[in-house]
C-alpha cells in the first residue's frame, strides 16, 4: 500500500515518508476540496437568494451529467449523442416511484397496483432509477459498443428517438406527451452536491485506475490496445453502463428539482447543452468538465435573462427567444475551430501540485540527488 505509485507523482515530493505523513498528504486534497465545497454550499444555502440557489443546484446536476458523459465519451472516445435518453429514463422512473399516492390515483390511474399503491423515499427511488438506466444501457450497449466512430453517434441518436417515442406513447406510465407534474421537490443543494461530489470522485478514480487506462488505450489506438490484451468491448461497455447509471441519477435529481416536465424536456436542446459543456471543458478531463459546466451554466443563465428583452433607457431590446441558443452555437463552433481539445485539452488541474507550491516555502527543498 505504501509503495503504490501515485499517478503523476513527482519524486521527492514527500520528504518524510512516515505512514502518518503519507496518509495526511493523501487525505489533504480531498479534505481541503470537500471542506471548501461544504463551506461554500453552507454559505449559499444560508445567505443566497432563491435565484442563486437554483443556479447552484443546476450546476450540481450538470456536473453529474457532464462528468458521467465524460466517462463514456471522453475516456473511451465512443461519442454518444443519446445520453439524454438515460436522463429521461432516470427522471421518469424515479418520479413514478416517488409521486405521492393520491397524485398517482389522479395523474396515473392506469399504473399497476404494486406501483400505484406506494411512494418510495428519494434515495431508493434515485438508486433504482439509476439501475434501470444502467440495465437499459447494458441491453443497447451490447450491440452499440461494437460499432465504430460516426456509426455509434448516429445509432445512439436513434436510441434517443426510441426513448422519445416510448415516452410519448406509454400513456399509463408517463402521461404521454402531456406534462408529468406533481413530483415532490426533494432535491436540495445538499443531496445534489453530495451526488455531484461522489460522481466527480468516482469518475476521477476510474480515470486513474487500470480500467481507465484500458478505456483510454482503446480510444487512442484500438488495435494496439487489443494486442496488449485490453478487451475494447468490455471497457467501452463498462464505461457506458456506469455513465448511464450516473446520468439516470442526475435525471432523478433534475426531476425532483424541476418537479414538472414532459418528454420534450429530454431532446436535442438538452443533449446539445450537455455536450457543449463537455467539449468546452475538454474531453477526458474531469476538472475540465466542472469548469465547462460552471462557465456554460452561468453564461446561458445570463443569456436567458437577456433574451427576455431589456431596457437600456435609450434602447429597448425586444425579447428574442432562441437568441441564447444561437450565441451558444457560435461559441461552440469557435471553440472547436480554435481550441479543439477544449479549455483544458484533456489535462487535469493538478490540485496537489498547486497546494504543494503554495506550501513549499515552509518545507525543505528536495535535495538534488532525490530528483
Amino acid at each position: 500500500m505504501a509503495m503504490r505509485a501515485r499517478a503523476g507523482g513527482s519524486p521527492g515530493a514527500d520528504p518524510s515518508p512516515t505512514i502518518g505523513a503519507r496518509l495526511l498528504s493523501r487525505l489533504l486534497v480531498p479534505v481541503v476540496l470537500l471542506g471548501g465545497l461544504a463551506v461554500a454550499l453552507g454559505a449559499v444555502s444560508l445567505f443566497a437568494g432563491d435565484y442563486l440557489l437554483r443556479i447552484v443546484i443546476i450546476i450540481g446536476i450538470n456536473v453529474i451529467l457532464v462528468a458521467a458523459l465524460n466517462l463514456s465519451n471522453g475516456f473511451t472516445g465512443v461519442f454518444s449523442l443519446g445520453h439524454v435518453g438515460f436522463m429521461a429514463i432516470g427522471a421518469y422512473a424515479a418520479s413514478i416511484l416517488t409521486l405521492p399516492v393520491h397524485l398517482k390515483a389522479v395523474n396515473l390511474p392506469d399504473l399497476p397496483r404494486w406501483l400505484g399503491g406506494a411512494a418510495l423515499p428519494f434515495l431508493p427511488a434515485t438508486l433504482i432509477a439509476g439501475l434501470i438506466a444502467m440495465a437499459v444501457a447494458l441491453a443497447v450497449g451490447l450491440s452499440l459498443m461494437r460499432l465504430k466512430g460516426a456509426y455509434i453517434s448516429v445509432a445512439t441518436l436513434g436510441f434517443l428517438v426510441i426513448v422519445q417515442v416510448i415516452l410519448v406513447n406509454w400513456d399509463s406510465l408517463t402521461r404521454g406527451a402531456r406534462t408529468f407534474a406533481g413530483v415532490p421537490p426533494y432535491a436540495t443543494v445538499w443531496n445534489v452536491w453530495i451526488w455531484a461530489a461522489l460522481t466527480v470522485y468516482a469518475v476521477w478514480r476510474i480515470g486513474a485506475s487500470a480500467f481507465g487506462r484500458d478505456m483510454r488505450g482503446a480510444r487512442d489506438n484500438e488495435i494496439a490496445a487489443q494486442s496488449l490484451g485490453v478487451s475494447v468491448l468490455r471497457s467501452r461497455l463498462l464505461a457506458f453502463c456506469l455513465s448511464a447509471f450516473l446520468t439516470g441519477v442526475a435525471g432523478s435529481l433534475w426531476a425532483h428539482f424541476i418537479t414538472s416536465f414532459s418528454p420534450k424536456s429530454f431532446f436535442f436542446t438538452q443533449a446539445f447543452s450537455i455536450i457543449t459543456m463537455l467539449v468546452i471543458g475538454g474531453l477526458g478531463s474531469v476538472s475540465g468538465s466542472v469548469i465547462g459546466v460552471v462557465l456554460i451554466t452561468v453564461f446561458s443563465e445570463l443569456l436567458r435573462n437577456a433574451e427576455r428583452g431589456f431596457d437600456l433607457g435609450f434602447l429597448r431590446l425586444p425579447p428574442l427567444y432562441g437568441a441564447s441558443q444561437i450565441l451558444m452555437a457560435v461559441l461552440f463552433i469557435l471553440v472547436i475551430v480554435f481550441r479543439p481539445a477544449g479549455l483544458l485539452g484533456g489535462r487535469e488541474i493538478d490540485v496537489r501540485g498547486i497546494l504543494r507550491r503554495m506550501t513549499a516555502p515552509r518545507r525543505e527543498k528536495p535535495k538534488e540527488e532525490d530528483l
Binding site: G77, L144, A155, G158, Y321, I326, V337
Partner: protein, 298 residues
C-alpha cells in the same frame, strides 16, 4: 379493394417515401464520403428552401418560380455553410465535425424560430400536386408519382454526372482518398463545394416535395426526415452513393410494411421499431449493406 391492388398501392407509397429519403440520403452520403462529416444541418437546408418558397408564394409569385428560388436558396445556404462552418475544420477529427454540424443545426433552427415564429404555417401546394389519380379502384396521389419521377430523373442525372464528368470523377477520387486526390492535382475545395452544392440542391427539391406532402412547414421540420435519411444511408453503408439509394428504398418499404403489419396499438411506436431494426442490422453488418469491408491497416 383486392389484395393485389392493395399491394400495388402500398408499393407506390413505399417507393414514393423511399424516393424522398433517397434524395436526402444522397446529399448526406456525398459529403460523408469525402469529408467523413455527418451533416446534421442538411435538414435545415430543407427548411430554408421551403420557407423561401413559401414566402415568395405568399408574395404572389407562381409556384414554379417560388420553387426554383427556394431550391436556389437551399443551394446557396449549403455553400455558405461549407465555407463558413466546415472549411475551417478541414482535417479535424470526425467527432469535432459532427459536433460542429450539430451546433449549426441549433443555430439555424433557432434563427428560423426568431425569424418565422416557432408555430407551423400551412404550405399550400398547387392543385397539380394535390390531385388524386384513380385507376380502377386504385387511388394514387399525383404527388407520389411526381416525387418518384423527379427522384428517378435526378438520380439518373447524378449517376451520369458522377461517372462521366471530370468533376464527378474527381469527386469519386476524393472520396476514395482525399490526400491522394489532392496530390494528383485535384482542386479538393472545388470538389467539396460541388458536393455540398449538389446535396443542398437535392435538399431544396426534397423540401418542396415534403412540404407539399405534409401540408405545413415549421422551423424544426427538417430534423426528423433527415434523421431517417441518416438511417437510410447507414443501412446502405455511410458514404456509398448506391448504398444510400438502396438504404432509402429499404427504409421506405420497411416503414410502410411496419405501418401495415403492426397491430394498431403499436403503430405509434413505428419509428422506435425503425431505429431498433437499424441498431440490430448494424450488429450484423457494422458497415451497412454496401459499406466498405476494408480492414483497417496498421
Amino acid at each position: 379493394m383486392s389484395g393485389g391492388e392493395l399491394l400495388l398501392q402500398q408499393l407506390i407509397n413505399a417507393v414514393s417515401v423511399g424516393s424522398l429519403y433517397a434524395l436526402m440520403a444522397i446529399g448526406l452520403a456525398m459529403v460523408f464520403g469525402i469529408l467523413r462529416l455527418i451533416n446534421f444541418a442538411h435538414g435545415d437546408l430543407i427548411m430554408v428552401g421551403s420557407y423561401v418558397a413559401l414566402l415568395l408564394m405568399m408574395a404572389g409569385l407562381p409556384f414554379l418560380m417560388a420553387a426554383a428560388a427556394g431550391t436556389a436558396a437551399s443551394t446557396i445556404a449549403g455553400l455558405v455553410l461549407e465555407r463558413v462552418a466546415y472549411r475551417p475544420l478541414r482535417g479535424a477529427h470526425e467527432i469535432a465535425m459532427l459536433l460542429t454540424s450539430f451546433s449549426v443545426t441549433i443555430f439555424l433552427e433557432n434563427l428560423a424560430i426568431i425569424l418565422f415564429r416557432p408555430t407551423s404555417r400551412p404550405f399550400a401546394a398547387p392543385a397539380l400536386l394535390r390531385g388524386v389519380i384513380e385507376m380502377g379502384q386504385l387511388r394514387v396521389a399525383s404527388l407520389d408519382l411526381i416525387a418518384i419521377a423527379i427522384a428517378a430523373v435526378l438520380l439518373l442525372g447524378l449517376t451520369l454526372f458522377v461517372k462521366r464528368t471530370t468533376i464527378g470523377i474527381a469527386m469519386r477520387a476524393a472520396s476514395q482518398d482525399l490526400l491522394a486526390a489532392r496530390l494528383m492535382g485535384i482542386n479538393v475545395n472545388a470538389v467539396i463545394a460541388t458536393a455540398f452544392a449538389i446535396g443542398s440542391l437535392l435538399a431544396g427539391v426534397v423540401g418542396l416535395l415534403w412540404s407539399a406532402r405534409v401540408g405545413k412547414i415549421d422551423p424544426l421540420m427538417g430534423f426528423n426526415p433527415v434523421l431517417k435519411a441518416f438511417v437510410a444511408s447507414v443501412i446502405g453503408g455511410l458514404g456509398s452513393l448506391p448504398g444510400a439509394v438502396i438504404g432509402a428504398y429499404v427504409l421506405g418499404g420497411l416503414e410502410i410494411l411496419l405501418q401495415g403489419l403492426l397491430p394498431s396499438a403499436l403503430t405509434p411506436y413505428r419509428d422506435a421499431f425503425v431505429f431498433a431494426i437499424l441498431i440490430a442490422l448494424l450488429l450484423f453488418r457494422p458497415n451497412g449493406i454496401l459499406g466498405s469491408t476494408e480492414r483497417e491497416k496498421i
